[in-house]
Amino acid sequence: MRGPVHPGRRRGRRRPLIAGACAVLAAAAIAGCSSGATGPPVLNVYGPADGAEQYSAAAKDCTAASGGRYSVVYQTLPKSADDQRLQLARRLVAGDSEVDIVGIDVTWTAEFAAAGWIEKLPEDVAAQVRQGTLDGPLQTATYQGALWAAPLNTNTQILWYRKDLSPTPPATWDEMISASERLHQQGLPSYIEVQGAQYEGLVVWFNTLLNSAGGQIVDEDGNVLLGRGDAAQKALSVMQRVAASPASDPSLSVNKENDGRLAMEAGTAAFQINYPFVYASIHTPPPDGGGGGTFIDPQGKPTSADTGRRVVDEFAWAPYPSVVPGQPAKPTIGGINLAVSTTGQHKDLAFAAIQCLRNRDNQLRNAVEGGVPPTLSDLYTDPSFQAKYPAWEAIKNSLDNASVRPLTPGYTSISIVLSDLLNPPAAIDPATAVPMLADEVQGAANSEGLVP
C-alpha cells in the first residue's frame, strides 16, 4: 500500500503522530475507568442538596446500625428539583449501577415507576412503610394501587406574616390582597411573597388554589378535570390579582421559595406563602441563614442600622389562606420519597436501608435541623418534637387538608406546560385562560405535545 516515492519523508512524519494518538487514547481509556472497592456493599443514595447535611448524618447512622451489612453514602444532587430529576433520569436511563436509592420529589413517583426506573416495594416492606405514616404522603408514593416509595419527609406551605404589620393574619387571599394594598398606601412593606417564577413552584401555587376552590387538574384515571366548574377561574383570578397589585413585589414573576424568604428577611415583604424551612432560616445566624441582619426603623421600614427591633422577631405563622371564605385551603403536599432504583445491584439491602433512613430518629433530625415536616404521624403528638418544632400545629393542619398533585407519569410535562402558561401571573386572563389550559394539559398528560 505504501508507495516507493519519498517513503522516508512520509513515514517519518506519520510515525510519531500515530504513536501520539495511541498514547492519548490510552490515557483517555484509563481516565474513564474507576476501580472497585472492597468491604461491605456501598449503597449510594441520590437526593436533593437541601437537607443534605441531615441526610448524610442519617446515612452514617444507618451504616453503623446495619452491623456491617452495608454502608450508605449520601450523594448530593443539584439544588433545583428540575435539575435533580434530570440528573437522576439520565443516570437511570443510562443504566448507572451506582444508583441504589433515589430520593425523589413526590411528583415523580408515577413517572419513575411507569418508566421502569424504580422498583415496586415488596409486600412486607410496603406493609411496614404504611404503618404509622400519614395518609397524604403515602398517597404521593402510590401509583396504580401499589406503593413504589417510602415517604421520607413531607412538606406543606403555610402563611408567614409580619405581626407588626398585620396583627391578625388574613384568613383568605382576598383579605391578604387588601391588607397588602393598605400597607402599600401607608408606605410600609407590602409584598406578598409567593412562587411566581416559571417552574414547579408556580404549579404548586395554582394546584393549591384550584383544590381549595374545589377543583382538580387531573383525576386518578388521567382524566383532565381542569376545565370543569369555576374553580380554575377562581384560582387564576387570585393569582392574577396578587401579581398585578401595585403592592406586589415587582420580581414576583421570577421569585422562587428562596427569593420570597430573602425578601421577607430583608424586611420588604409583609406576607409569604412558604415552606417551614423559613423557621429554620430565621433561627440560623448569617451567613448560613437569614436570622438577623435587618432591623425595623421607627417608621416601620427596613434598615441595616441596629434599632433593637429585628425583622425576624416579628415573623409569625398561620394557616394557608382560603380561597372560599370559611373553607380551609388545601395546600399542595410536597416532600421527598425514597425509592430503590432498578439499576442498582443490592436491591434487598436497599429496601432495608430506606426503612432505616426514614426511621423516627432520622425524621426527627430532618425536622429539627432541616425544618422539613416528618411523615410519621406519632411524631406530631410527641411533646419533645412539638417543643423543638413550634409551627407543628399549623403544619399538621395543612397536611391533614392536603391536596396531591396529579399522580400520572406525564406530570412533569403537565407542570412545564402549566408553568409556561401561568407565567407571568400578572398577565393571566382568568376569564379566557381555562379552556386553553385544559387543552394543553390534555396533550401533555399523554406525552403528545411539545413542552415549551
Binding site: 516515492v5 418508566a115 412545564i416 407571568p424 405535545g449 411539545l450 415549551p452
Partner: protein, 320 residues
Amino acid sequence: MSLQSGALAASTEQVTQRPGGPTKAQMSEGKRAERNLGLLLCAPAAIIIVLVTAYPIGYAIWLSLQRYDLRFPAEQAFVGLSNYVTVLTSGYWWQAFGVTMLITVISVAIEFVLGLALALMMHRTLVARGLVRTVILIPYGIVTVVAAFSWQFAWTPDKGYLAALLPTGSAPLTDFGSALAIVIGAEVWKTTPFMALLLLAGLALVPDDLLKAAQVDGAGPWQRLTQIILPMMKPAILVALLFRTLDAFRVFDNIYILTQGSNGTGSVSMLGYDNLFKAFNLGIGSAISVLIFICVALLAVLFIKLFGAAAPGSEPSGRR
C-alpha cells in the same frame, strides 16, 4: 462556536483550483502512491466525521419518525411524520422559531455595524493598537457560560451594577422584551470582536492608493466607505455574515443561563433540549433537531444563492 469560519475561504479555494487530475489510465506509480497516502491521511478524519455526525443524523431522522418517550417505554412505535406535524402545528415551535430569528437578525445586524466600526478603528488607529487588538480577544475567547453569568448578575435587581441604573422595581430579565434585549446584548458583546477581526482582514486588502486617489478626487469619508471599501470587502463580509448567522441561529448557552427560556425567550435549540431532557421525548426532540438542521441548511443555501455562490472564498488564487 464560530471558530471555524475564518479559515474556510482559503481551503475551499484549494478545491476549486485543483490542477487537472490525471485519468486512471495514465496514472503513474507515483500518482497512485500519492493517492493512497492522501486517502490514508484523511481516513481518521473521515471515519470520525461519519461516526459522530453522519450516522447520528441518520439515527435522528429515524428517531423522529417514532413515538419514543423514555417515560413510556412500552409505547414505542413507528408513527411516520406525525411528530413533525405535532411540532409544526405547535405554538411553542413557532414562538421559539420567531425568537431565534429575531435574535439572529438583530444580533448579526448590530454585530456587523459595531464590528465594522471596530475594524475601521483598529485599522487606522495609532494609539494603543496592540492593546486594543489584545483585549478584544477576551470576549471572543471567554467561556460563554461565564460571560452569561456576568450579564445575569449585572442585570439582577439589588445585585447588579446595570440593574442599579434602572428605575427601582424593574426586573429586566423577567420581561420578554428586555430579557431578549439582554440575550442579544450578551451575544453581540461576545461575537463582535470576531466579526471585527474578519472584517479587519478584509480591510487590509483595500489598497490605500485607491482611497487616497478617491480622496484627491473629492470623495468624502462616507462615499469612500460605501463606494470603495465595502464593495472591495464583499467576500470577507459575506463569510463573516454567513457564519455568524448560522452560529447565532444555534444560540443556546446565553439563553440557558440568562432566562432558562422563561417568558417565551427560548430559542429552537432550547426547545429541542427541553423536549429531550425535560420531557424525555426522543421522538419529538429528534423531530425538532432535524427541523433545526433543515433550517440551518436552508439559511446557508439562501445566503449563498442570494449573495452569490462566491461566498466562501472561491476566488482563484495562483498559489501552490
